[in-house]
Structures are given as structure tokens and as C-alpha cells.
Symmetry: C2
Subunit: 327 residues, 2 copies
């Protein structure tokens, strides 16, 4: 692993669609329809799918090769080669099954990443909505500083900012939790495949050792095959070892769902601060209130406290804020 | 591995091309041009190529995903996620490199199998040639038992049988030696990939453990990222562990090239028996000689003693016996 300690691409990618180094053909159109925020992860999840398919293909091919090897061995009419090729075939076939299991585990890990992508997708309209209202207010203030619409817009902005604060909290919570979960699962799957395949490969080499490859001279007849019981025993050993296999992983700990106690306490404090500012909420009219709302109204969607943790409400932003607003 | 202890396909495949379960498209025409003897291995070697390509694709995709993950992490503007995703990306990228190395090792193992296939291919004409002459003799004996051509044909048959004996010895020697060699290499490659990927995945899980995924409530700010040195140290550890990696394999022993001593002795004995029968060789005319030639003339291609071991002369059968004779 003689490489730099970062693999980040140094060239800052511009946001034009042409900057994508990978051609997606038709599906790149769907990628382009993604909000900017979720585009990278959208592509990554597509790439993970190609990875999953590669391993599925490898597993399938491995199993086919195993069967072909066994059939070839039988056709040699050499009892030793026939038995060895069949036993090696059984082990290769199980290598293929493990490859297929790995593909499925990668697919599960990939599904976890989708939670981040979906949250990113739902946060983008919330950001856009907030920016749009702030923009409208700025324009209106310079053109019609006395407009009665300013009051309504500023109320809207406070609501939009409060909503966005919740969305951003959901995003960071989901991002960290799911990033950790997805790759912990992916590494665990890598270790499982590796440990099981080591078992199979080591027994495979034992099987091969039963085959006498001393050369014969023309006309000599090979001795009878005497190791069929041993070969069978090796398969039994391999099966037992696989059955006994247990994951021995250091935990990847998660606090994502452990912090209810401190969170409740937090919420309690916020609730108190909410109550002191409740009446101001109703009639907020000045710019000071808007600027200060970041800390004051942070907890205004109080019910979302739990959704931050569970991600249950992660789509509400997009349902509350129509796409047309974001355009 | 809860499976039968054999994976042999029980249905006896007929030798018609339609019995192949796998469609090869255009390349199946090339397969059909293979002599019967090498057809199964020809197909197996093609399947191994698909396997190699699957792992190459997986390695390439893994490296691409690693880079995408790092870039995505940077775009989150969360220092912790940015650093973690970059470090995880480095480890994933190396997982991909190991996958690519595995593909190349499989390809090397596949090349070893080709030696068997080539020998099979060269033995087929020798078998056909022998059978054809025996057939001609049988026909001639029933039609013209006094034909002077019988003498010539019977001489030809003795030569063809001697040549075929050598070819069959070459086939069994190459088959056993290369089967053992190819799959010992394949299992060794599987163990190498597995052990190195376990190193990478375990360090990957250590990196993930640095990421605090405790949920924040809206408006909270995440603490500063304090683990960048630790993350970097984990990559150093992974690199050191990979450098220190050594294969720890029980040998798959081969006698393929160790038996020169006993082989020479063998040849010496054969040479003596050759000398006692030398004069009969010159004027052999009776059916008894032909029937008995299996043991007497086994060593007649004496120079092929070494080619049995090395496979150097494995193609001589097809060069001595034109394809037209085999048809």
C-alpha cells in the first residue's frame, strides 16, 4: 500500500454535468435530475451496484467452473484426477457461494447509503426555499421598503430557517450514522468472505496434496487411487470449519440511538427557551428577530427531535416544500 | 457448506454440441473445432477468463467508488466526515488493488491449465491414427487376408501404438502436474487476497470508530474534528501490516520434476528389454508381436523419456501424424 494517504481527486470538479468522468449513458439523465447535494452519492450508489453485479457474476462463474472441472475430471478416466477434481470442484463451488453472499452483503450496505442520499435529496429544497425567500426580501426591501408583503415574507423566512435547521440536523445525524453503519457492514462482509475462503482454500490445498504427480514413463500404469476416504474427510473438515466459523470483529460502536437521555435533557432546555420566546414568535416583525432565530427557534419543530435520531421524518421537507419553489 | 460431497452433474452429457448448457455465441464455433478430448477444458478455460474479467471489473469499480466516497465526504463540509471518508476511501482503494492482483493471479493459474488442454489436443490425433490403422487392418484381413499391404499396415500400427503410448504418458503426466499446480496457485491467490483484505477491513473498522455519530439537535454545532492524527496513524498501521504480510501456506508438494533418478533407472531397464527385442523389431510380421508390443515397445521413443517430464515434445504427435490421417 505504497500510496498517498489521501485519494481525493485534487482537481475541483466543476458542477457542470460534463465534469463526470464516468459515462452513464441513459441513466446519466436520471443523475442530472438529482439535486446537486445528492448527486455524488447518487453516482456512488450506482457504482456500488456495478460492484455488486461484478461479484454476483464472479460467484456464478466460479460455481459453473467448479462443475465443469468435476465433469472434465470424470472424463479423464483417471480415478485420482476424477476424485481430486470433484473434491476441488466442491470447494470451488463453495468459494463461489461465498462470493455471492458477499455480493448480497455489499448490496445491503449499499441500501444503507441510500438513507443518506434520500436525506440529502430532501434537504436541498429546504436550502433553496430559505435562500429564495431571503432573496425576495432583499429585492423587495430595495424596491418597496414599505411593502406590507415584507412582514409576510419575513414570517415565511423564519419558518423556512427553522425548518432548514431541522433538516440540516437530520442530514448530519443520518450522514454520520449511516456512513459508519454502511462501511462497518461492508468491512465486516469483507472479513467474513475472507475468513471463510481461507478455510476453503487451505482445505483445497490439502486435497491437491493427495494427488501423486510423479511422472510415469510410456507403458507404465498408474497405481490404484487409494485416497478417496481422505479426500472425503477433507471436505467434512472444511464443512465443520465453516459451521464453526464465528465473526470475531472489534465493535464499530454507534451512539446514534444511545443518546436519548442527553437528547431529552437537551430538548427540555430548548423547550424552556421556546416558552420564553413563544409570544415573540407570533408577532415577529423585525430583522433582528430573523437574524437571531438561529438559536432561538432551533427547537421549533419540537416533534422532530426523535426524527433526527430515527430519520422517520426525513422526507417531510420535500413534501412541505414543493419542487417548484426550489427551481 | 451443507451440500453433497460431489458436484458432478449426474446426467451423462452426450457428446453432441447441443448438450452444452452454456451458450457461447460466436465463440462456440471455435469450441466445436476442438477435438473431443480437449473440449471440456477448452470451455472451462473460457469460463475462467470470464471469472478473471469479473474480478478485474470489481477491482476497477472498487477503486472508482473509493475516490467517489472521498470526494463526496469533502463536499459535506463536515471535517470529520471528510477525513473519515477519505481514509476509508484509501483502504477501499487498496481493497480494489488486491482484487485486481487476484484477477491477475487467477489468470496465471488459468494459463497453467492451457498446458493440459494443449496436450489433450495433441493426443487426440494420435488416438485417432491408431484406431484408423487397426480398423484398416481388420477390414483388409476379412476382404484380402493375403494382401501384401497387411505387412506395411501392421508395421504402421506398431509405430502408431508406440507413439500413442508416449502421448498417453505425456497426457497423464501433464494433467496431474498442471492440475495440481494450477489449483494450488489459485488457492494460494485466494488466501493472499483474503489475508490482505482482512488487514485492510480491520483497519477500516478502526477508522470508522473515530467518527462520533451521536445525534445533534437542530441548531447544535458539531465539535471540532480531533482525530485526524489517529486516522492517519491507522493508515500507516495498515500499510505496515501489508508490508509485513508473508504467505504462510502448507506446501502443495510436487514430484513432477523430482523423479529423474528413478526415471533414469526405469529407462535403463527398458533400454535393456529393447535391446533383447531389437532384431525382432526389424522383421515383425505376426499378430502376436503387435498384440505384445504394448509392453515390449513402450520405450521405443526413448528420447521422449524426458519430454514426458518436461512436456517439451508435447506437440510432436500432431506434427508427425497429419490431421488428415485422423479424420
Amino acid at each position: 500500500m505504497n500510496r498517498a494517504l489521501s485519494i481525493r481527486s485534487n482537481k475541483k470538479e466543476s458542477n457542470t454535468p460534463s465534469s463526470g468522468r464516468r459515462g452513464f449513458g441513459l441513466s446519466s439523465l436520471r443523475g442530472a435530475a438529482q439535486p446537486e447535494l445528492s448527486k455524488k452519492l447518487f453516482k456512488l450508489i450506482k457504482s456500488e451496484n456495478i460492484l455488486v453485479q461484478s461479484y454476483e457474476a464472479a460467484g456464478k462463474e466460479r460455481i459453473s467452473i467448479a462443475s465443469q472441472l468435476s465433469d472434465w475430471g470424470e472424463a479423464t478416466n483417471d480415478d485420482a484426477v476424477s476424485d481430486i477434481s470433484d473434491k476441488v470442484g466442491v470447494l470451488l463451488s463453495e468459494l463461489g457461494e461465498q462470493e455471492d453472499l458477499y455480493a448480497h452483503n455489499l448490496d445491503d450496505s449499499r441500501a444503507i447509503l441510500k438513507a443518506i442520499r434520500n436525506t440529502e435529496k430532501s434537504v436541498q429544497p429546504s436550502r433553496n426555499h430559505k435562500a429564495k425567500i431571503a432573496d425576495e426580501i432583499a429585492k423587495l426591501k430595495s424596491k418597496e421598503p414599505e411593502s406590507a408583503r415584507l412582514v409576510t415574507l419575513e414570517q415565511e423566512l423564519v419558518r423556512a430557517e427553522a425548518e432548514n435547521l431541522v433538516a440540516e440536523a437530520q442530514l448530519t445525524n443520518i450522514t454520520r450514522q449511516k456512513l459508519k453503519e454502511a462501511y462497518a457492514a461492508e468491512f465486516a462482509a469483507t472479513i467474513e468472505r475472507a475468513e471463510k475462503q481461507i478455510i476453503l482454500a487451505r482445505h483445497g490445498r490439502r486435497v491437491l496434496n493427495l494427488l501423486d504427480d510423479s511422472p510415469v514413463v510410456p507403458g507404465d500404469v498408474r497405481g490404484a487411487w487409494e485416497h478417496s476416504n481422505q479426500a472425503r474427510q477433507i471436505l467434512n473438515d472444511a464443512e465443520d470449519d465453516l459451521k464453526d466459523w464465528q465473526p470475531e470483529l472489534g465493535d464499530v460502536s454507534s451512539n446514534a440511538n444511545l443518546d436519548h437521555a442527553s437528547l431529552s435533557q437537551h430538548q427540555h432546555q430548548r423547550q424552556q427557551s421556546m416558552e420564553t420566546s413563544a409570544e415573540t414568535d407570533a408577532g415577529m416583525t423585525d430583522a433582528g428577530m430573523i437574524a437571531g432565530e438561529g438559536t432561538t427557534h432551533g427547537g421549533s419543530h419540537r416533534s422532530s427531535g426523535s426524527s433526527v435520531v430515527t430519520g422517520v421524518q426525513q422526507n417531510y421537507a420535500s413534501s412541505e416544500v414543493p419542487q417548484s419553489v426550489a427551481a
